[in-house]
């Protein structure tokens, strides 16, 4: 277990948007979706040491040593030019951390925490690590009061869920779209696994929140909202739906030409869901 290392983009000891209460959030690097609307696209790829970022760094915090990128965090001034230079939406600034490294961070911040959330990227791409981490948290007498949550796109097979769910307290699952063609256009992947995952997780009693990213003229259409409503009702009226609103913050490329989602349009969808009997519909507190 000691040799197991996660590739971590970032760790937050304060987050109020990644599950119930204040949470320690581990953003794992790498994603199996490629969404144009992604608000942290630099977490999608995994570094292949091509070296394009080295020249972009104006404080020489990056260098090539034996064909590998070496990053010096102390020199870095967080200008993020390397992220822009990266051709594969990866980051040269990732850390490699062990389970015990993360337990140590959790211990130090314990009084402030309700739990731990693994996010990404797509957290389940590092499934072995996530399972090891959650298992260790639950076995640790100081930390077993912390709940373990996964923030996921759900693109994970049934067998893997069987391994993950026993050590997981809650799942926040994103559905990007219901129409298969639209889903493919918005993620580059098929939606079958995600939709099935929602049912598996819900049946296990661990679906904390179903998330739906509303994008004008794409996923806010009557047809999509109707399918979301039917899907949620089929799971049960007690399912918590979190409507996210597409904004430009963090987004790159083509999607910057898309319109931002307005508060009034989100409210309309929320009202529709509530009228259909979904009791818990959460809308964004903030529109950027």
């Amino acid at each position: 277990m000691n040799s197991l290392l996660a590739t971590v983009n970032k760790i937050l000891t304060y987050s109020v948007v990644d599950g119930p209460g204040n949470r320690l959030v581990i953003f794992l690097q790498g994603c199996n979706f490629n969404c144009p609307a992604c608000h942290n696209p630099y977490t999608i790829g995994v570094c292949d040491h091509c070296g394009d970022c080295v020249a972009a760094c104006h404080v020489d915090a990056l260098e090539m040593v034996n064909s590998k990128i070496v990053f010096d965090a102390a020199t870095c001034d967080q200008c993020d030019a390397c992220l822009t230079a990266c051709p594969i939406s990866a980051s040269p600034m990732v850390q490699r951390l062990s389970v015990s490294d993360i337990l140590e961070i959790a211990r130090k911040n314990k009084p402030f925490l309700n739990g731990i959330t693994v996010s990404g990227g797509e957290a389940t791409l590092q499934l072995k690590f996530v399972i090891a981490l959650f298992t260790a948290v639950k076995a640790d007498p100081d930390l077993n009061g912390l709940t373990c949550f996964v923030d996921t796109n759900g693109h994970l097979g049934a067998h893997s869920w069987e391994r993950l769910l026993p050590v997981t307290d809650g799942v926040m699952l994103d559905i990007k779209a219901f129409d298969p063609a639209l889903h493919h256009a918005l993620t580059g992947q098929d939606s079958t696994k995600t939709l099935k995952a929602a049912t598996i997780v819900h049946d296990a009693g661990k679906l904390y929140e179903l998330r739906f990213l509303t994008i004008p003229d794409k996923t806010d259409t009557d047809a999509e909202v109707a399918r979301l409503t039917d899907f949620a009702r089929a799971l049960g009226s007690n399912v918590r739906i979190k409507l996210n609103a597409f904004q430009h913050h963090g987004v790159r490329g083509e999607a910057l030409k898309w319109h931002k989602m307005t508060e009034s349009s989100v409210t309309k969808i929320a009202t529709h869901l509530r009228k259909a009997g979904i009791t818990e519909v959460v809308t964004p507190a903030l529109y950027l």
């Binding site: 000891t13 109020v16 948007v17 119930p20 204040n22 009084p111 402030f112 964004p284």
Partner: protein, 511 residues
């Protein structure tokens, strides 16, 4: 003399002040025409240069800065002086308090402490319906905000979970008034989780109340206890604080050659001068002003020997950064371990100096150290030991950086954690943040939610909508303070002073 008259004339003719506000500024100007209590030359010079500061309390301290009456005295006995019988019903009790408040002096003339309201009112609540209690508290709350419009007026509730505390929290969230300021005393052994959650939900609603670390405060005081008053001062019940003086650590650091020179010579030197300033003011109050002949003493609302003095310090952030520069180091206060260590050392050293300097006519013979939250003229000087506004790290790192200071500041220390509004969808996080801060050794937990109209400025509340025009121009916390409480040339864009202000913040007319 001519200049003084001109100032008086400016006050009487001021467009923005109401008559009560004019009367207050006129009285301050009159007091300040008197000579200052005798100071030695060195102390006078340090005061003149504002290395040490008397908070512009006035030249002739004829009343203590903060008075914390034991209101249970008037509720049990009535008052011979005020010709009041002892109240028997809830309505009579509230009425008695409303009268009492008008006879409690303070540095601003408005009471800074209006009592441990649940303890005071609970004995009158038997047989009172929930609805009746709610209506009476609501009227009481409205009265306080409209008649005693000062954001430093402070009510206390807790640590028990009781009807009066719950009703007050309900009304406070509903009315979202600036006054009164409110603290819930939290004791994990006594308070229910539920009432703490109500209190932290209120913070999300209206940035009030403060949550005080009751066990940490209570152990410093005796059976009669303590009260939390004004913007975060913790003082003996049935007494208070005669004066608050403060040392500007930034100015001290500027006069030091390096870190060691600061600690071995400059800090002890200026701290001693500030003790002398304190002594001169206390001497005037106790030996010349005749304050302690008041009926408040005679009837036992307060006792002469229960008045402490608050020994304030501020601008630690600037002081540490200046010393870091003198040592050719870059790390900033609040972020860098070496810089933070210098800060912790300052707090520890100052607490030691205060503990070893006896003072006459002071409760228990020694001052109480205080992390002072600033007044309107403080430019380029961050309140207390805080991290400069706008540069703070996330709330958890923020608490972790400042928690080691809290043990030393016995008469009060406050940090304002600014939390973004996404917390509105996740109130549990506010509850946990509060518990985490108190468990880490914070004496009190205070938070602002970024989008709330009612926000805290240094320690008192303002309504953003009152000062919206100003916000468009600048929007900085200190300037907002100046605007909310200060005079016409700064606030030309407002047609009048806000009705509810923070008088303590003012350094005088035109400041």
């Amino acid at each position: 003399m001519q200049k003084s008259l001109e100032t008086l004339r400016n006050i009487t003719d001021d467009k923005t002040l109401n008559p009560t506000q004019k009367a207050r500024y006129l009285s301050l100007e009159a007091e300040n025409m008197l000579p200052y209590p005798d100071l030695d030359a060195e102390t006078a010079e340090a005061l003149e240069q504002r290395v040490i500061c008397d908070m512009f309390e006035g030249h002739a301290p004829y009343k203590p800065r903060y008075v914390l009456p034991d209101y249970s005295v008037v509720l049990s006995n009535g008052s011979a002086y005020l010709e009041l019988p002892a109240p028997e019903t809830l309505a009579e009790a509230i009425n008695t308090l409303m009268i009492a408040y008008h006879h409690v002096p303070s540095v601003t003339g408005i009471p800074v402490y209006i009592g441990q309201l649940d303890d005071l009112l609970l004995p009158f609540c038997d047989g009172v319906s929930d609805d009746d209690l709610y209506r009476k508290i609501k009227l009481f709350w409205r009265y306080l905000d409209r008649v005693l419009p000062d954001a430093f007026m402070h009510a206390n509730i807790g640590p028990t979970d009781n009807r009066v505390a719950r009703t007050i929290l309900r009304v406070d969230a509903e009315l979202k008034q600036i006054a009164p300021n409110l603290t819930f005393l939290y004791d994990p052994e006594v308070s229910s989780e539920q009432i703490l959650a109500i209190a932290t939900n209120n913070i999300i609603e209206c940035s009030k109340p403060h949550i005080a670390n009751h066990p940490m405060h209570a152990k410093l005081f005796d059976q009669r206890g303590y009260g939390i008053v004004s913007c975060y001062n913790v003082l003996p019940m049935a007494g208070g604080a005669s004066t608050l003086t403060r040392v500007n650590l930034k100015e001290v650091a500027l006069r030091a050659d390096n870190v060691e020179h600061f600690f071995t010579e400059m800090l002890p030197h200026y701290m001693e001068l500030n003790f002398r300033l304190t002594e001169a003011r206390v001497d005037y109050l106790f030996n010349k002003s005749n304050f302690f002949t008041s009926f408040l003493i005679e009837e036992g609302w307060i006792e002469r020997d229960r008045f402490t003095v608050m020994y304030g310090i501020y601008a630690m952030a600037e002081a540490v950064n200046i010393l870091q520069e003198k040592e050719n180091r870059e790390g900033l206060y609040g972020f860098d371990d070496v810089a933070n260590e210098i800060g912790y050392r300052m707090s520890k050293e100052m607490a030691k100096i205060v503990k070893n300097r006896p003072l006459e006519n002071v409760w228990r013979g020694y001052a109480m150290l205080h992390s002072q939250a600033g007044i309107s003229i403080d430019e380029g000087a961050t309140p207390g030991v805080r991290i400069p506004y706008g540069t703070e790290p996330d709330p958890v790192s923020h608490v972790q950086a400042l928690a080691p200071h809290h043990q030393y500041y016995t008469s009060g220390i406050s940090e304002i954690l600014t939390v973004d509004e996404t917390i509105k969808n996740n109130p549990k996080a506010m509850l946990q943040l509060c518990k985490g801060a108190l468990e880490s050794g914070f004496r009190e937990f205070t938070a602002n939610v970024a989008s709330n109209d009612l926000v805290r400025v240094t320690g008192y509340m303002v309504r953003l909508s009152d000062i919206a025009k100003f916000k468009e121009c600048k929007g900085s916390r200190t300037n907002t303070t100046a605007l909310a409480s200060e005079a016409a040339d700064v606030t030309g864009i407002l047609d009048r002073k806000p009705r509810v202000v923070g008088n303590e913040l003012s350094a005088g007319y035109g400041q």
